[in-house]
């Protein structure tokens, strides 16, 4: 092959972390918050995971959608969830969404943007329903509707057109679903199914998948290989020899 850009020859590049290349969206409606996400994870131009879960559990009343570097969104949301669980146990209260946002901001700002997590946090607490976005440098925005990820522009187009305050549940679900669908069709790095998460003060409805991909083209032939297609050339059996046997007694938590 021909080096089209000659200066790239000979340079060794560090392995690139896998990004989710995503469309995520959230909307505040009459009774709570609806979060949505696609399910495709890409590693450069290859689809690494067709059924990736991008809506992460933070607390019983708070969920978080993550775009950006896959490992960063996973670990950041896990750490946040652990912190809030400890808080709940200490104080006996359900965490508030604003607390989750502040913890995230502190952490991401401290790491100076090196953690590539673009998050949409949604939840319902004693003060109401809230939707926030937190950026990788620690920036924060509180808004009634939102989209993030590589497919955010097509998704925002749908949200800007049809969002209104105080929607009912079916309308809100349809809006988020259509916004994610726009991202899936227009953005190459988003695709496959749509997951939704509805959070109200009664509880959470995690719908995975809400809308399955309509593209399931079946292959016409069966690609199976009979035994013997990969021939066995050589076989060596090493019998494991019992040399020595000991029994050690241990104290366990259950015994007393």
């Amino acid at each position: 092959t021909v080096p089209v850009n000659g200066s790239e020859e000979g340079k060794i590049k560090a392995p690139k972390p896998m990004k989710t290349g995503t469309t995520i969206a959230g909307v505040v409606y009459k009774d709570g918050v609806v979060l949505g996400a696609d399910t495709r994870a890409t590693s450069e131009e290859v689809v690494a995971d067709k059924m990736c879960a991008k809506i992460h559990y933070i607390a019983p009343n708070i969920y978080c959608c993550g775009a950006g570097t896959a490992a960063d969104t996973e670990k950041t949301t896990d750490m946040l969830s652990s912190n809030l669980t400890i808080f709940s146990m200490n104080s006996g209260r359900n965490p508030r969404v604003v607390m989750a946002v502040n913890i995230l901001q502190d952490m991401l700002f401290r790491y100076r943007g090196m953690i590539g997590a673009h998050l949409i946090l949604g939840g319902v607490d004693c003060t109401g329903s809230h939707l926030y976005t937190v950026g990788p440098y620690g920036s924060m925005d509180k808004v009634p509707y939102l989209a993030m990820g590589s497919g955010k522009l097509p998704a925002m187009g749908i949200l800007e057109d049809r969002f209104k305050g105080n929607m009912d549940l079916e309308e809100a679900k349809a809006l988020v679903s259509d916004a994610i669908h726009a991202g899936i069709m227009s953005d190459l790095a988003s695709g496959n199914n749509i997951d939704l998460c509805v959070i109200t003060k009664e509880g959470v409805d995690y719908i995975r998948p809400h809308r399955e991909s309509i593209y399931n083209y079946k292959r016409q032939a069966k690609y199976k290989y009979k035994p013997g297609t990969t021939p066995v050339l050589n076989k060596t059996v090493n019998q494991l020899e019992l040399v020595h046997e000991t029994v050690q007694m241990m104290e366990t938590a259950g015994s007393s």
């Binding site: 089209v4 570097t69 924060m140 590589s150 953005d187 190459l188 083209y217 016409q220 009979k226």
Partner: protein, 241 residues
């Protein structure tokens, strides 16, 4: 809080925002090339040849067109598949079509597949130091009516093959074709010669797989089937997401 407008361009390669305060002069290099995606595949049989391509034209993470096939019919016995930079694909196919006409007018006959392949090699090498960013695969019938496939690199190196995949999903398709058509890495298997029906079914199946895992491949598949009757087309939908 104030709303910060962040355009998609502000995010650099590592999902980090690009620096907006610069520390000195910044060099912006203009690249004359773009990568428009697309996958091309050609298979040669005993008395037929197939050239197949997807129809998606993309750039970056966006789609320009869902209906831009990459197979171009040159003569009644030859089809060429071109993927890579769409601008160069269009110009190259225009040049090839002009040269075919010139040959027809001077020699009073159509160019054979082998002749077109040899000519394409010299056209590509003519731009050795500012190449056409195109991965070409020619499929057709040779002078004896047998299927022929010629595959090229961007500067004109070529060889005759039985089957070849090129373009963005080529690394995914080629090993499967090596196994199913070339019977590689298999033993104790009956090596039946490839029929037209089996070849078409195989091409459809491999493109379904390519569309699953390659983001640049999808929308629709167009297969040009070349037999002594002429060139016939078949279109099948693929994933659009």
């Amino acid at each position: 809080g104030s709303l910060m407008m962040i355009s998609a361009r502000a995010f650099g390669d590592n999902a980090q925002m690009k620096e907006h305060h610069y520390t000195g002069p910044v060099e912006h290099k203009f690249s004359p090339y773009a990568f428009n995606g697309g996958t091309v595949l050609a298979v040669a049989g005993e008395d037929f040849a197939l050239v197949a391509s997807d129809t998606r034209l993309s750039e970056g993470y966006g789609i320009h067109s869902r209906d831009s096939p990459k197979c171009y019919k040159l003569t009644d016995t030859t089809v060429i598949g071109c993927s890579g930079f769409h601008g160069d694909c269009l110009t190259l196919t225009k040049i090839i079509e002009a040269r075919l006409k010139m040959y027809k007018h001077s020699n009073n006959k159509n160019m054979t597949s082998g002749a077109i392949a040899a000519m394409l090699s010299t056209i590509l090498y003519g731009k050795r130091f500012f190449p056409y960013y195109v991965y070409n695969i020619i499929g057709g019938l040779d002078e004896e009516g047998r299927g022929a496939v010629y595959s090229f690199d961007p500067v004109g190196s070529y060889q005759r093959d039985t089957y070849k995949a090129g373009g963005s999903a080529s690394a995914m398709l080629q090993p499967l074709l090596d196994n199913q058509i070339g019977f590689k890495n298999m033993e104790n298997v009956e090596q039946v010669p490839l029929t037209l029906e089996k070849a078409v079914q195989l091409v459809k199946d491999v493109f379904i797989s390519a569309a699953e895992r390659d983001v640049y491949t999808g929308d629709a598949l167009k297969i040009c089937i070349i037999t002594k009757e002429g060139v016939r087309e078949e279109i099948m939908p693929l994933r659009k997401d």
